[in-house]
Symmetry: C2
Subunit: 346 residues, 2 copies
DNA sequence: CTGCATCACTTAACCGGTAAAGAGCATACT
DNA sequence: AGTATGCTCTTTACCGGTTAAGTGATGCAG
């Protein structure tokens, strides 16, 4: 084998073997006109035989594309590890990228400030063709920076003010509404909402929907904010349940929060679901393996990842922009929710 | 601003601004001799002002490095999402890579066969400088392929037969030994081990250590294999606990398995830890938030990721090869283990 | 005053692809 | 016959860096 640098096969090797020029090889392997079918077949056969793959760096240098997209996660590692959402989302993103031979470049950072620095670097280095931005915040500085750079991006989790970047999100409101109506139908009048980070747009959407539903149904409804960490979830649950008139049903904004809340409730002597009903979010197996299994808001996160990735590829190729609103999740009822037991019980 | 393609600043722009040649700019920005200090300072100042970053593709084409490393995960997405190990590991890997401006390219695949195809492509495309290989198997075909390709790699999870690839792993055996001795000291005589995938090297190590400890201590000790999925964990637990003389203590090979096992045990009417003690592995918050919190084998997974990444960078740069054995984990005791209640109780 | 380093830079080739422009030849048309 | 057209392939420039080799100018020793 005529192998060169690092054992890699280049189109030059193929050209020599086929007795044609580099240009002809390039035309042949890219399926473009300019070579006869005979020559093309011969070249393709040689390429396969030698196990040729296009050198990505070389291609990126002339073509504008690097065939890689990026995802930056700015949540604490410990939270990420426990939040099944991200791995499922990534797996959806991956499967879409893989079928287009696009690489996923992942980076974990500590805060949005670092995240912006990563975008600047990635753009300057031409490391990625585009990025997926998660956990959209109100007045998100990342949006301005991405627009300024001109780095193609799709924002996951809420429409962007002014529509300056294409976005994709779930209808969070109507499923919150469904969950609260379900709890009300079970007889609960004091409900609570343990939310995620308050400045995230999807948190706002959920909180607003929660407040609206509570108002419309004439319930009492507290809201407690967390930073998605287990500790803050434990604190929030403890605070709610130690109030003089604790809620009889709690909606949690993530699996991790819900499972933590369940543990705290049980530890405080509350029986779930007899004393307090619990509803989780992002129904993962964790919700199902705990005891009792959790009623939860289910959505197809992998499909969400697929859709986000596809949208980004469209944006990168200039095929489309605009926003995509995915169908809302569903409420899956399990053992952690039950009709409210009249207060004589306690 | 003299900006060109896609708004990116190139050394040509800097050269024009500074009134020098491209070569001089390259020398200046790479801290190599060949330019005066004055000129260097001027060039660096201009580069900073224009926000220049080296185009990675261009650099990769001449230098041999692409400054990216890869990680392929060949477990089902649903399992991955729930297994905190991987995200924690990735976060460790990431933090080490990030401090060297190395990108992490992640790919999820269905099986080792696809994984090999990814390595071939990555190597041919020159997408990565090296890879981290997880879940080492006996007679792992990936090892042969990586050796054949000459793609730098570090194997995570057990030494490679023949030492053909550098590896990094934990001492799994001695911590298993510690856990079983602890259970024996609590009075347990019938113990069980719910393992992961049997062909993984680290599973073998654990199983051997378990069998040795059981033999040495004169215990009865069943081993049941799973594929790490929650379903198979549930099945394994059900099988063990429905035997005529069920074990009074079970060691699970992962958090997910342990939590699932806990749920099944409780569902079957076993009290944990009174009827059966449970020990988990990879002590994540999940183990801590369930009820009772799980006794578990703890190890610093993030540090493991850091060490693996650092070892890979050494290998890529030809600085080192060889194997690294990390310190073993520790047993953290919590509420899921207790002294054995004499069998009169049941 | 010559000879020879040394310094500070420029020139040019190269990495491995892409793609526009050109060249040689056969066929088709007027 | 002359020329236009089309096809197939080659030549060449280019992407944005790196780097070996080359060039003037300066300094300094003999």
């Amino acid at each position: 084998m005529a192998e060169r640098r690092g054992g890699r096969v280049t189109i030059k090797d193929i050209a020599e073997r086929a007795g044609v020029s580099k240009g002809a090889v390039s035309y042949a392997l890219n399926g473009r006109p300019g070579v006869s079918d005979d020559t093309r077949d011969r070249i393709v056969a040689i390429a396969n035989e030698l196990g040729w793959y296009p050198n990505r760096a070389a291609r990126a240098l002339s073509a504008a594309r690097v065939d890689a997209c990026g995802l930056v996660l700015a949540r604490p590692a410990r939270t990420l590890a426990l939040e099944p959402f991200f791995m499922e989302f990534i797996s959806g993103v991956e499967s879409e990228f893989a079928s287009h031979s696009i690489a996923l470049t992942l980076q974990l950072v500590r805060d949005p400030h670092e995240e912006i620095a990563v975008y600047r670097r990635w753009f300057g280095e031409h490391r990625v063709d585009g990025v997926l931005v998660v956990d959209l915040r109100l007045d998100d500085p990342r949006v301005d920076e991405l627009v300024r750079l001109g780095l193609p991006a799709v924002v996951v989790g809420g429409p962007v003010e002014g529509g300056v970047l294409p976005a994709i999100w779930h209808d969070e409101g109507s499923v919150v509404n469904e969950a609260i109506r379900y709890l009300a139908a079970l007889g609960h009048t004091r409900v609570a909402h343990v939310t995620g980070v308050d400045t995230f747009v999807h948190t706002r959407q959920r909180v607003e929907a929660f407040r609206r539903a509570v108002r419309e149904l004439g319930l009492e409804g507290d809201t407690v904010e967390t930073d998605y960490s287990a500790q803050s979830g434990a604190r929030a649950t403890r605070k709610l349940l130690s109030s003089p008139s604790p809620p009889t049903a709690i909606l949690f904004d993530s699996d991790l929060l819900a499972v933590t809340g369940l543990g705290i409730a049980q530890q405080m002597g509350f029986s779930v679901p007899d004393d307090v009903s619990i509803v989780g979010w992002d129904d993962s197996l964790i919700s199902q393996v705990v005891h009792p299994p959790l009623t939860a808001i289910t959505r197809d996160i992998t499909a969400f990842g697929v859709a986000a990735a596809r949208h980004l590829l469209d944006v990168v190729e200039g095929r489309a922009a605009g926003d995509v609103e995915m169908t809302r999740g569903e409420l899956t009822t399990r053992g952690s929710t039950a009709p409210r037991v009249p207060s004589i019980a306690r």
